[in-house]
Every structure is written in structure tokens, then in C-alpha cells.
């Protein structure tokens, strides 16, 4: 049986604290990877890759990427995350979620950002629909399984 979902790391697997990955699927709501691939060798791709590096390295910069806290949307999207940039006068967004796929010490704090969906819009404010879709996909058992299987530690 063919797997419905795959993940592909875009940052190094060797980093001890964080990594960024794409969720790959033919589903119409899962668009991040295909849009990112279409940006190859463009300024937008380089911006995103630089943002990924900065987040993995632990730099704080809410203008480039951020999550949502308990006070926003009554805490429904605290696992959601976004990388953002501007292109052709439009706000571009890559939405995803954060998880801790390594279960054994001392790597339990390892954080993975799984990017799912691309959004393009003229206004700055987040479209809650994007977050709703990401959150729904995040909680699917098949999605969780593919992530944890990818990082499954050898016994």
C-alpha cells in the first residue's frame, strides 16, 4: 500500500534542537511543498531558507515567523506556526505546526516544524481558515504516524 503522507526535511537532520520539514501529500489542502519547489533559485526561496535557518538556530523574529499563544483564538492554535514573507506586493505564508517527534531522552525537547499549507493574501491578518485546516491535519493519526516513524529511534 502506498503511504498517503510523507515528510521531507528541508533543514539539516543533524541539528540537535530544531528542524523544518514539509508534509507531502496529493491532498489539495497540503500545498506547502509544491509551492516551495516552484520557488527554486528565486529570492523568495532564499528568504524562506534563511528564515528556516534562523528559526532552527533559535533566533527570535516575529516579523519572519511565529506561533500563536493561549490568548489568541482562545488557544486553539498553540501548535500552529507560520513563516512569512512578501512577494509581488502580496503577503505569502507557509503554515504548519510544531511537534516533538523524538521520544527518548535527551532529545525529547527536539522541535520539528512541519509545513503544510501555503497562503497568499493582500491583508496582514491571519486567515483563521488556514489555521483551522492545519490544526485538523495535525491531529490526524496518519500524519502523526509518518512523523514519529521518520524520527523513530533505533532500539
Amino acid at each position: 500500500m502506498t503511504e498517503k503522507y510523507k515528510i521531507k526535511l528541508i533543514t539539516s537532520r543533524d541539528h540537535s534542537r530544531r528542524a523544518v520539514a514539509f508534509l507531502i501529500s496529493s491532498e489539495e489542502n497540503i500545498t506547502a511543498k509544491s509551492v516551495f519547489d516552484s520557488l527554486k533559485n528565486t529570492k523568495s526561496e532564499r528568504i524562506l531558507l534563511s528564515w528556516f535557518d534562523a528559526w532552527v538556530d533559535g533566533l527570535k523574529n516575529d516579523n519572519w515567523y511565529h506561533g500563536w499563544n493561549q490568548t489568541q483564538y482562545t488557544g486553539r492554535y498553540v501548535r500552529c506556526f507560520v513563516f512569512k514573507y512578501r512577494e509581488k506586493r502580496l503577503e505569502q505564508r507557509f503554515y504548519g505546526f510544531l511537534c516533538n517527534p523524538k521520544t527518548k531522552l535527551p532529545d525529547q525537547g527536539f522541535q520539528l516544524c512541519v509545513l503544510i499549507r501555503h497562503g497568499s493574501k493582500s491583508q496582514w491578518e491571519t486567515d483563521e481558515n488556514d489555521l483551522r485546516i492545519v490544526e485538523e491535519i495535525r491531529t490526524r493519526p496518519a500524519v502523526q504516524k509518518v512523523i514519529y516513524d521518520y524520527f523513530k529511534e533505533k532500539p
Binding site: S12, R13, D14, H15, K43, R46, I47, L49, S50, D53, A54, D57, G58, L59, K60, N61, N63, R86
Partner: protein, 182 residues
Amino acid sequence: MSIKSIKKHWTERSIKDYLFRIVVDFTAQLESKMESLPISRDELSKRLHVSKGRVSQVLNHGGNITLDTIVQYARALGMKVSIVAYDDNDPDNKKGPINSEIFKMSWEHLGKPRDFWAMQDIVTTKNISAANVTFGRRIEDFKIFGPKQSSSGNVAAWSAFFAIESFAGNNKPFEDDKRLPS
């Protein structure tokens, strides 16, 4: 492990990629400074005698940015620029460049030494063992040749980046630094 299995960082694809990444680090430092002063893009354009559009272009990573531009923008904000070459034991560039903010924070944390005398004082008085490792070669050169000849040729560097040296602000301990992840 075969050579093919060594996954390189995206900045290894081309010099253009590498330059883009270090310019992003640089402009992030400019924006951070602009926010802390505070100073608008409009005001910065007046100080630089360039159009607001040109300032936006630079801050939005558009087009080529020269060393001249880098120095002009940093100086307009009261900052300085150093070019630092370093060897991080990653000759294949699997991990990418180290963010220039890391160098800046490390320098601030050490008390912003201005010269090799200050650096030697820090190493001597604080007995920093990590500094002996990190700066060991440089301090060793310093002891042998004196400050004027000490800084060249002692970094086996193929990579370079630009670090801004700001003389504003206090030397805060790392744990209070808002730039660090919580």
C-alpha cells in the same frame, strides 16, 4: 560514508546563495537597531541621502548589496562593521554560516573588548578556559608577534560574514537577552 551522502547546506549551492544568507543576517541586525532607536525607513533614507525605495530594497534583500552599502547603512545607524572569517570545523558547509548575531552577542558577553590587550586581559583575569580554546591560536599569535601582526593568517577560513559592532547598549548576561529563544 560516501561523498554523495554528505548533505550540504543550501548556501553551498552558489556564492550568490551564500551572500544572500549573510546579507539577510546583516539586514536583520539593521532592522533590530532601527527598532531599538527607533528610526523609520524614511528617516534612514534622509540620513543616507537615498530614496525610501532604495532603503526598502536593501532591507528587503533586493538586488546586489556591496560592501560600500553595508558600511554606509551601518554607519548611518551609529554602528560599525567587521568582516570576520572563521573556521567552525565544517569545511563541507553541511551546517551553513553561523548567524552574525551570535558573534555580536559573544563579543558583547565578553565585555566588548576593543583590542587584543583587552582580549588578553579577559583571558588572563577571568581565566576563561573556553576562550583559550576559541581564541587560543589568536592569543598565541598575539604573544609571539604582538598585536600588529597577530590577526592575519590565523583563521583557516573559506567563508566570511559581516558582523556589526554596536557600541550602544549594555553588556547584558545571556539569560536576560530577549534575542534568545525561550
